[in-house]
Symmetry: C2
């Protein structure tokens, strides 16, 4: 049952959005094509009318997830500067969210072993995040370097905080990282 061009484009976007959610909640390996298509409400066979293979979808989903992170970080930067962005990222609600905002903390070590397309998408998102975290140009030439450190610390702290079951230790990690990154 052929669909209109508009519907086809919408379906493609829905697949990418579903994959973006599943990656952030369960990582890349657990994001199966059958699950993605089921979320969209389609059967898995139709997947290949939209994508060459799983890798292509994952790469686009990483990009889409990145846009979500950028929007959130950008909004917080606008509201309360870098401290606000840091506090939001390292909050308990972000740690416990079943569908976290940041794909890097949710699937970073998998992306490190992913294919070219996925790593390219990750690099693209990372560069944009550095720019956003560096703030406006009045921040000086050190701003980019600082932004790199801020993102690395946030991703590492969130990953460690999610790795431990003990909530006291987990909170301690988030709190020390927040303190450290405040300026």
């Amino acid at each position: 049952l052929r669909k209109s061009k508009l519907e086809t484009a919408q379906t493609r976007e829905m697949i990418v959005a579903a994959a973006s959610d599943l990656i952030r909640s369960g990582g890349i390996a657990e994001t199966s094509l059958a699950n993605v298509m089921a979320v969209v409400g389609l059967t898995h066979g139709g997947f290949y009318k939209h994508f060459r293979d799983k890798e292509q979808m994952i790469a686009e989903a990483v990009l889409a997830a990145g846009e979500k992170t950028l929007t959130t970080v950008g909004r917080n930067m606008g509201k309360g500067g870098r401290n606000a962005a840091v506090d939001s990222y390292l909050s308990k609600s972000h740690r416990d969210n079943p569908v976290p905002v940041c794909a890097f903390a949710a699937a970073g070590s998998e992306m490190a072993r992913a294919g070219k397309e996925t790593k390219g998408a990750a690099a693209e998102v990372m560069e944009k995040l550095f720019t956003t975290l560096a703030g406006d140009s009045s921040e000086g030439p050190e701003a980019r370097g600082e932004a790199i450190v801020v993102l690395a610390t946030m991703v590492g702290a969130m990953t460690l905080a999610r790795m431990v079951a003990d909530s006291k230790l987990s909170s301690e990690i988030l709190d020390r990282a927040k303190e450290h990154l405040h300026r």
Copy 2:
């Protein structure tokens, strides 16, 4: 063909060591029992004479990998203090090592979704690393908090550095993190 108690204990250790290597090179999901047993030189059926299930082996392997990290970090702390430990961790050779020293950077996001035993092992390793990175007690009461930040930044920076294919950007991430953590 029953083996002697000594041989049985050695086999078990070899399985854990093989799993530790495979986790650090390919993560948890890609570490299949058949691969682990093949590395040891056995067939996969015998696995269950040593472990209840995959989870138990993974948890022990995380602990074993942690001991490796602790030894390396401890040795570098002794030789050149925290700066030396940071430089070694964030070196290009650690980034490019097919069997990296640190399981947290290699499989952190997978550990965050792992079972109780694995997360317990991760927490145990983490506490020991905090103590080692805090140095001797002359460092003051801030030492533990600093150690937490140092580990989070190292794990995050290494994960980000491995995620990008562009080696200029990857080196930039490692260098900014090293600079930042030096004291």
